[in-house]
Symmetry: C2
Amino acid sequence: MAKEQQFVKNIADINEDFPQWYTDVVIKTELVDYGPVKGTMVIRPYGYAIWETIQTELNKRFKALGVKNAYFPMLIPESYLKREAEHVEGFAPEVALVTHAGGEKLAENLVIRPTSETIICEMYSKWLQSYRDLPIIINQWANVMRWEKTTRPFLRTSEFLWQEGHTVHATEDEARAEALAMLDCYEKFMNEVLAIPVFTGIKTEKEKFAGAVETYGLEAMMLDGKSLQAGTSHYLGQNFAKAFDMQFLDKDNTHKYAYSTSWGVSTRMIGAVVMAHGDQRGLSLPPAVAPIQVIVIPVAQFKEGVMENAQKLTEKLVGMGVRAELDARDASPGWKFNEWEMKGCPVRIEIGPRDIEAGKCVVSRRDNFEKFDLPLNELEKIPELLSTIQKNMLEKSRKIRDGKVVSAKTLKGIFDGVEGRNFVKAPWCGCRECEEKIKNDTAASARVITKDNAEGEVCAVCGKKAKHIVLFARAY
Amino acid sequence: MAKEQQFVKNIADINEDFPQWYTDVVIKTELVDYGPVKGTMVIRPYGYAIWETIQTELNKRFKALGVKNAYFPMLIPESYLKREAEHVEGFAPEVALVTHAGGEKLAENLVIRPTSETIICEMYSKWLQSYRDLPIIINQWANVMRWEKTTRPFLRTSEFLWQEGHTVHATEDEARAEALAMLDCYEKFMNEVLAIPVFTGIKTEKEKFAGAVETYGLEAMMLDGKSLQAGTSHYLGQNFAKAFDMQFLDKDNTHKYAYSTSWGVSTRMIGAVVMAHGDQRGLSLPPAVAPIQVIVIPVAQFKEGVMENAQKLTEKLVGMGVRAELDARDASPGWKFNEWEMKGCPVRIEIGPRDIEAGKCVVSRRDNFEKFDLPLNELEKIPELLSTIQKNMLEKSRKIRDGKVVSAKTLKGIFDGVEGRNFVKAPWCGCRECEEKIKNDTAASARVITKDNAEGEVCAVCGKKAKHIVLFARAY
């Protein structure tokens, strides 16, 4: 019994120490481990399987939007980074440098990509000749490196995995539309696959991507009321086109600079799934992203016929397209229940001698702990159940989130709001000083500029006419 | 017309200058481009799509063998490389070093992985406690870096993409069986997907992986009679287990060092496909690996009904699971024929007003240039045709190859054989000196030790008793 309780016991209290709860959960469920070099992570098979379902789902959606995948080199000449003024300022402090290779000092230092706008635009400028070559809509799945001082598995690591899309267009309108289309793609993906509602909107100047004209962000509320930036989409204007001479001969026979965008999501999203859906028992994974959607656990597994029936049941589910697995290990059902609960498997099916006699199995939901008997000839209800769970998890997240968005009119109001683990909507004049004062005094940053009407409102800091209603939150 | 001939014209003669033919083909078909840093490559969408089908096919086969994917950090402490004596000797000269990061000099230099045995074994030694944890069978898809002096797209680049499997076992027998099982998996994959026959066998001491007890190689013959090592599988014995203290508590309650293997294939395989199947017109892709299996080309595309029928035809094929695409660009059919021929699309379907009237389309095969009418209500013959082409391409490659394997008994015989663009089987005494003399005098290296009987044979170099019949070839 002691062993069967170990999981819950070893996880810190979710209400009292959320950061430690997070670390305990991601390590103990074997999603991830610490790498030998400070700030690096090993994505273990259970965590990587989540990443693979994310990749499959996004690739499907990207393909429908005309995106093609490619791969660009990881090493970028240091000089490239310097061509776009804001870009170098943003990324230079956190790059890793290759100075020696093949036993010799390099003539020019190379940067391990922190992001690939520079090298990709360099290639595009070579490929791009005429308006006929546009648009270019390419994505890459890659590892990137940003040397961060404080790191946490998935949320902030020196190396992480992501996808980065880079597109080029003939007109500003088309490029802006592309950035918004990808934002929409991400939002739907997060809703439908990760079961996480997000706030989307434009970032402030202070918070935007280094080199962008405008950055759109997707902000997800974690269970501790903090925000996690789950993805971004940037309208880059002609900034990189000018820095990398990305010109094309237009229909009117004149050379023009193109307009570009970039957009990305990363392994951070795995952290978001953990912190949006977990509970004291561990992970709770939305079926669409769960590596194993249904775990089948034989009860009294060494009794005649049990394992065979459990196996048959599993195969039937697999045949229906369900990611089902049989846990045939030599361990007690109780131990397995606890383990799969901790690992967040959406549905557990138990089947023992008495169930077999009665022609049924016992189904348990991870999202709400409901438990019910299911006749063995009604297994086709399981895919339906997975859809129900998926929807329920999104609804539940939305309800929690919507109950934790408050409005404030003053700096103190913002502080009280975020201190109470809320997102706070507050009016803002638009100036950098007021935004920084909020950050300094409340530890909350401007997440996105909302579309709410700021008419008649005054800035929570300086009292001058408000330009926007901004969503403030403490953030990962 | 001039434009329609441009493709063939711009590709070097395959018989007179095979290396230039290769470069022309991979660049002009937009499989790849040169990256800004010497020795790096950009894998363009058409090339990357081949890589994605390779990944999908291998993942399917790996899964059936119980392999799970994961991801390990790219940066390895330099000291790790030094723990296994042969390993450091083999890889130290070609590593890229990160010496600075986050604006500071690092306390210990970091190596960009040239391969990941060291860091993965470090993690395994942490995870491995008891025999119950064995076997560990994990693969990763990753980029690796080896600083090479002479580089060529896909064949040898400083950065390349690959998969590397790393397994740990309780016994020597099990580890050896695993290394052989993966060799077999690769051979079947190369036959069935890449349509490339391979010679498999053990590598000589000189040619084996740095740190392995035994390396098994897969050698494919290119059209110029040179060999391309298409993949390797290593039995590592306890070499890395001892270097990284990879021990486990066995059933008999004693601690034992584990046995490990590693195995990998890379983006090199794309180069192999080019050089095994291409011809003067460009690429010829096996259907199993072709990004587009059937290209549909409308003739007189602006005439009423043509585009609609071409579209319908394409959709029907897609519905049958065929990777079919409609080329609706505003260009002449002849230009499109040439382009898709150069790009190696296995099947071309033309459909014009007269075809529509006659209720048919015109089908052309890339592998043998056969052309025939197909009634529009017999499209289900296309998937069959793709299988036929796939088999035919393997058969054709096998015939070419089998006609170019000769035997020799002397050093001169080996030289004449490889000079005539053959693989040469020759007897060898087993000593390093003779192997090196062959390399120096003929530019051919020992590819694999064959299973042929060496009884009664004498070494082609020294005349002493032969230990093995070895397959020699000039190699990429």
